[in-house]
């Protein structure tokens, strides 16, 4: 979220698309109902299903799953055509005026540089024209045909209301009504917020779904302002934290990246991370990359990281592929290329696509380790549960070790909310049986490995043996010790270069924020964006002052918000080019003539003059990007691509199958239904119900009561066509598997007219499995395709194809 949950109360229009906030985030949705009740805000829901969010919406428009980009490009086109643009914002705060290289172009669904054999682009032309001064060239008048604005205008011109309706199945009048409501928010005194979640991410073009809305929000001037923003409603309680901390194959905490093997040494590594400003005066904050990186290395390896050894650069593993994401991991497992796998609080057998493939892959491991507070299907993938898990234990040679962990109520530490608040919590109960904290278990694994290496030696033990592990109790580092590491501290005194008697930083002290970090090894910091969370002033994450001056919804003294306790990021954009708030009734920051002041921590140097320095300080341009340059693998502008399994061919580019640069493994491609396959004619989507939390609440009796049994949802029309009775049984199958489910025949799902063809939708809730308190049932991932988003590999759970027939109940 660029903004916070509580900030949503400041909005005028809530657009819920690519998500179902009422259902998935009820307590956050409260702020939508607040905005409606107190500001008269409107709520628009665009979704294939009439959801619980739609139940309280002012306007609902149906859309076929997987066609969001067409819809949103259509809205952008509408705004451009009807002058619903916040011009001042667009001109000052976006790259609309930047000139793009002449070689760049787009045709028939593809941009310049496509290589079909690699399923990748050569992206060199996707960039600005650089002037003789070394800066990007701009045309403030927006007259130059090569400026981003004109390219964008041409790019979206195709997405007329008729075309949008043809692709998305949204009736034209409903589409136009939504456009009209959104268009009103181009006014500087009206804001719209976008609330989205997995309904956008779980597509082979998930990143571009989000990007399209972000572009729209920029055009409307809604980024950085109160009641605006791009609000990704994160799923799990600390998934934001785990992402921030880089628990991914290619990341270092704070969104730094691991070296690849094309970056053999430290200087090469740093060379591509210089982030020279692309316009004069811009902060280009990533110029500080080295400070953050070196401080991280110092925290990891302490004295073993020295200037001489490039701060232990070699200790970091180097990637040979873009990422070892979960899909790749299970593909490797299936190929027999992996031997051990540790699942910490995770149930991949249910959570990743194509259960049959996952089970086969797990069966090829030597050792599977499970750390979890609860029983999971993954831990028992080898156990036979009839049709629900037809495993044959005798044939599965995987050794499984299941380790009981504590749960939230028994441990201490911070979780990061979707609104980036780091909130500390305290343990309240004794753990059951012999359950242990994750910290204790990880420490044990580390200490035992270290002991083995000390005794036996082995492959490159240096990084492991030199890992800084100076905790009071090495067997169980305390949450405070770990939190202090993430905040960072001073390793050696730093003196004032002008006055050597004056210490700027004193060894052993906690740093006050990432501004204090240095690239010479004198500071150490585990996660620079968290710096400031545990300073000499104490644990700021544990703050519980809920005062809110000005009633902005900022709550600046409640817990700690990264970065630097900032509540709304890009908040400098809440004021115009002169530093005057766009909307006096909703002001956030303003330039008082000498410095930035207001209700939030400025997302800019406090004394940076408004006319000189752009608000998007992380970008070398200082402005936001309507044109993404080469940052996205699948294009600098979003293009409508069909899901890999689609009931229709791509109307705008019939030859392009799915997202042209999404990674697809060979065996998986063979398991996709053909485009418009008569064998799998129905567009399916999977989702969670509000009564449940993924697969966890299977272990919870109350939640199992509230929605007891696996079902699928279909329209009355499809039920009639297929002869399926309300509450009766049906079999649903895809090219990868088959499930039995009760059927909910509902008015909330309607068939759609897509490119002249009636498309029926089958909704498949997730939750059920074969362990826990709930009834046994089938997980949706027996059906879902094994393909991810082109940029970040989020699986395409939201759009795939199935068939359905009435049946009697499953024979267990």
């Amino acid at each position: 979220m660029t903004n916070s949950w509580t900030d949503i109360k400041n909005t005028d229009l809530v657009v819920i698309m690519g998500g179902n906030a009422a259902e998935a985030h009820p307590c956050g949705f409260k702020w939508v109902t607040e905005a409606k009740a107190t500001r008269g805000a409107k709520l628009v829901v665009v979704d294939p299903r009439y959801t619980r969010s739609a139940a309280v919406a002012d306007y609902y428009a149906p859309i076929r799953q997987g066609s969001d980009i067409a819809f949103l490009n259509g809205v952008i086109n509408y705004c451009i055509q009807n002058d619903k643009v916040q011009w001042e914002y667009v001109k000052a705060f976006t790259n609309a005026a930047y000139l793009v290289k002449d070689g760049f172009g787009y045709q028939d669904g593809l941009f310049t540089g496509y290589d079909e054999s690699k399923r990748d682009y050569n992206r060199t032309t996707w960039d600005y024209q650089i002037g003789p001064d070394g800066y990007a060239m701009v045309d403030e008048t927006l007259q130059n045909p090569r400026c981003v604005w004109n390219l964008l205008k041409a790019h979206v011109a195709l997405y007329t209301p008729d075309m949008v309706s043809r692709i998305t199945g949204t009736p034209k009048d409903k589409f136009l009504k939504v456009c009209e409501m959104i268009g009103e928010c181009a006014s500087p005194t009206k804001t719209m917020t976008s609330m989205y979640a997995l309904g956008w991410t779980q597509h082979s073009k998930g990143s571009q779904n989000i990007r399209t809305m972000a572009m729209l929000q920029l055009i409307l001037g809604n980024i950085g302002v109160r009641g605006g923003g791009m609000n990704a409603l994160r799923g799990h309680s600390n998934i934001q934290g785990l992402t921030d901390l880089g628990l991914m194959s290619n990341l270092i905490p704070g969104y730094l990246t691991l070296p690849t093997e094309r970056e053999p040494d430290f200087p090469t590594y740093m060379a591509s991370r210089g982030f020279k400003p692309l316009r004069p005066n811009q902060m280009s904050y990533w110029q500080n990359y080295k400070k953050f990186f070196v401080s991280f290395q110092k925290m990891m390896w302490g004295p073993a990281a020295t200037a001489e050894n490039n701060f232990a650069f070699e200790y970091l593993p180097k990637l040979d592929v873009p990422a070892y994401d979960v899909l790749r991991a299970f593909e490797l497992m299936k190929q027999g290329k992996m031997n051990a796998y540790i699942c910490q609080g995770f149930n991949p057998l249910q959570a990743f696509p194509n259960k049959a493939k996952l089970a086969e892959a797990l069966g090829k491991l030597k050792l599977l380790v499970i750390m979890d507070p609860l029983e999971t299907e993954t831990a028992r993938f080898w156990e036979n549960h009839g049709i629900y898990n037809p495993a044959e234990p005798a044939k599965i040679q995987t050794e499984v070790i299941q380790l009981p962990t504590t749960c939230f109520a028994e441990d201490e530490g911070a979780l990061v909310s979707s609104g980036r608040w780091l909130q500390w919590h305290w343990p309240a109960g004794s753990p059951p049986g012999e359950a242990k904290t994750d910290v204790w278990i990880m420490a044990q694994i580390h200490l035992r490995l270290k002991e083995l290496y000390r005794k036996e030696g082995g492959a490159f033990p240096d990084a492991l043996l030199n890992l800084q592990w100076n905790y009071k109790d090495p067997h169980e580092p305390s949450p405070e010790e770990l939190a202090k590491e993430m905040n960072g501290y001073v390793v050696s005194d730093v003196v004032d270069p002008n006055d050597p008697t004056k210490k700027l930083l004193e060894a052993g002290k906690q740093v006050a924020g990432f501004g204090a970090l240095r690239d010479d090894g004198s500071t150490a910091c585990g996660c620079w964006i968290y710096s400031g969370c545990y300073t000499e002033a104490g644990n700021l994450m544990a703050r519980r002052d809920n005062s809110d001056p000005g009633e902005t919804g900022a709550y600046a003294k409640w817990a700690f918000s990264w970065p630097a306790n900032r509540r709304i990021i890009y908040n400098r954009a809440s004021a115009d080019i002169n530093g005057k708030p766009w909307d006096e009734t909703r002001k956030l920051l303003w330039w008082d003539g000498a410095r930035w002041t207001g209700y939030d921590v400025p997302d800019i140097a406090p004394t940076a003059k408004p006319q000189d320095v752009g608000p998007f300080i992380m970008n070398p341009e200082g402005v936001s990007r309507l044109f993404a340059r080469g940052m996205m693998r699948d294009g600098p502008f979003p293009v409508h691509y069909e899901p890999f399994e689609s009931p229709v061919a791509n109307v705008i580019a019939p030859k392009v199958r799915g997202n042209p640069v999404a990674r697809v493994f060979k065996d998986d491609f063979a398991q996709f239904a053909e485009v418009a396959s008569p064998d799998f004619p129905y567009a399916a989507t999977s989702y969670r119900l509000t009564e449940h939390f993924h697969y966890w609440t299977k272990n919870n009796h109350v939640n199992s009561v509230l929605q007891p049994e696996f079902f699928v949802e279909i329209s009355e029309e499809l039920a009639k066509e297929k002869g399926i009775a309300q509450g009766g049984w049906a079999r649903v199958w895809s090219k990868r598997g088959s499930v039995f489910a009760k059927v909910y025949v509902t008015k909330r799902i309607r068939p759609m007219l897509v490119d002249g063809k009636t498309v029926h939708i089958v909704g498949i809730p997730i939750h059920w499995g074969f362990v826990g308190a709930a009834r046994k049932g089938f997980p949706a991932n027996q059906l879902t395709p094994f393909v991810g988003d082109a940029n970040i590999e989020t699986p395409e759970y939201k759009a795939f194809c199935v068939n359905i027939e009435p049946t009697t109940g499953p024979v267990a």
Binding site: P26, K30, E691, V705, L706, P708, E709, Y744, R748
Partner: protein
């Protein structure tokens, strides 16, 4: 946002109402407490409800209730009806508005309405099994409940349910234990969107006015408050988008009253019945006094002997 009650106390806290505040007690005549406490009410704003069932979960949890895991039966309403454990239930209705031809998903939280004139209490034969406090809460006292189910017949909203386990009637208590220490009922506290709020009845009516204004501004011309006068008003009220047709909300009665059948049964029948029985008994006594016993005479015996041929001659 309606200001919520502060966090619950953990130090011993005196109850804010109790036995002394009763105004009605089933099958008993008591002197109603005076002065009356401020009447409380729970306001359920159906237009804000997202049907998340937090109220159901909170109710089960706070009241330590154990509901069975059921089956799917063609609706999100789970369990399919109120039970002795499910004292509150979200009822889902997919309704196509005939005027606009648009779908509306009407979701109503069902449960005890805490009537000012409670039919359950009127019907109850067990002294003290149902009580009404002067703040409006109607509560079941399980020690006194005999499980006859008369409350079910008395209730105009079909709320109480008899437990198969202990044969006692159960329904929402409005979390009287929580209200007694200044807390909101568990459902109202949990409700994510403040579709349920709690306060004095006057506050709730005022709050509802604001909500109705907002709904009317959004085109719900028939938005209104459901506080049915037929039962003297209720201490659980609804804000409805279509207050003119409450029946579309899973059969919320339009003008609920205590059934006339119940009124006759618990009223006139009782008096007339006992009168008739009394008259019958009195008539017997009177007749005996006047007519005297009807005895067999010696002559009768002789006639019989004659007839049977056992006479002495």
């Amino acid at each position: 946002m309606f200001p919520p009650a502060p966090n619950p106390p953990i130090a011993p806290t005196p109850a804010k109402f109790g036995e002394k505040d009763l105004i009605r007690k089933s099958a008993s005549s008591i002197t109603p407490a005076s002065p009356r406490q401020t009447e409380v009410a729970k306001l359920i704003d159906v237009s804000k409800c997202i049907g998340c069932k937090a109220c159901q979960a909170a109710c089960l949890e706070w009241n330590n209730l154990h509901e069975e895991i059921g089956t799917f039966n063609g609706s999100y309403t789970n369990p399919p009806d109120l039970t002795p454990a499910s004292l509150t239930l979200m009822r889902f209705t997919e309704w196509v508005n005939p005027e606009t031809d648009t779908l509306e998903w009407l979701i109503r939280k069902d449960g005890c309405m805490h009537c000012e004139d409670p039919g359950c209490l009127k019907a109850c034969p067990a002294p003290g099994a149902i009580v009404q406090y002067s703040n409006g809460i109607v509560d079941f006292v399980h020690e006194n409940c005999i499980g006859c189910g008369y409350c079910i017949k008395g209730c105009p909203f079909n709320i109480p349910r008899i437990s198969k386990v202990d044969n006692k009637a159960y329904k929402c208590t409005l979390c009287s234990d929580r209200i007694a220490v200044g807390q909101w009922p568990a459902c109202a506290k949990a409700c994510p969107t403040q579709a349920i709020v709690f306060g004095t009845k006057d506050e709730m009516k005022n709050w509802a006015d604001g909500r109705i204004k907002d709904l009317k501004s959004r085109g719900y011309q028939n938005a209104g408050l459901y506080d049915p006068p037929g039962v003297g008003g209720t201490h659980v009220m609804y804000v409805l988008q279509h207050a003119n047709t409450p029946q579309i909300y899973a059969g919320l009665p339009k003008d609920p009253t205590i059934s006339p059948v119940v009124e006759i049964w618990k009223g006139v029948t009782k008096y007339v019945g006992f009168a008739v029985i009394g008259i019958a008994a009195a008539a017997g006594v009177l007749h005996h006094l006047v007519a005297g016993p009807n005895r067999v005479s010696e002559e009768d015996e002789e006639n019989a002997e004659k007839l049977t041929g056992s006479d002495r001659t």
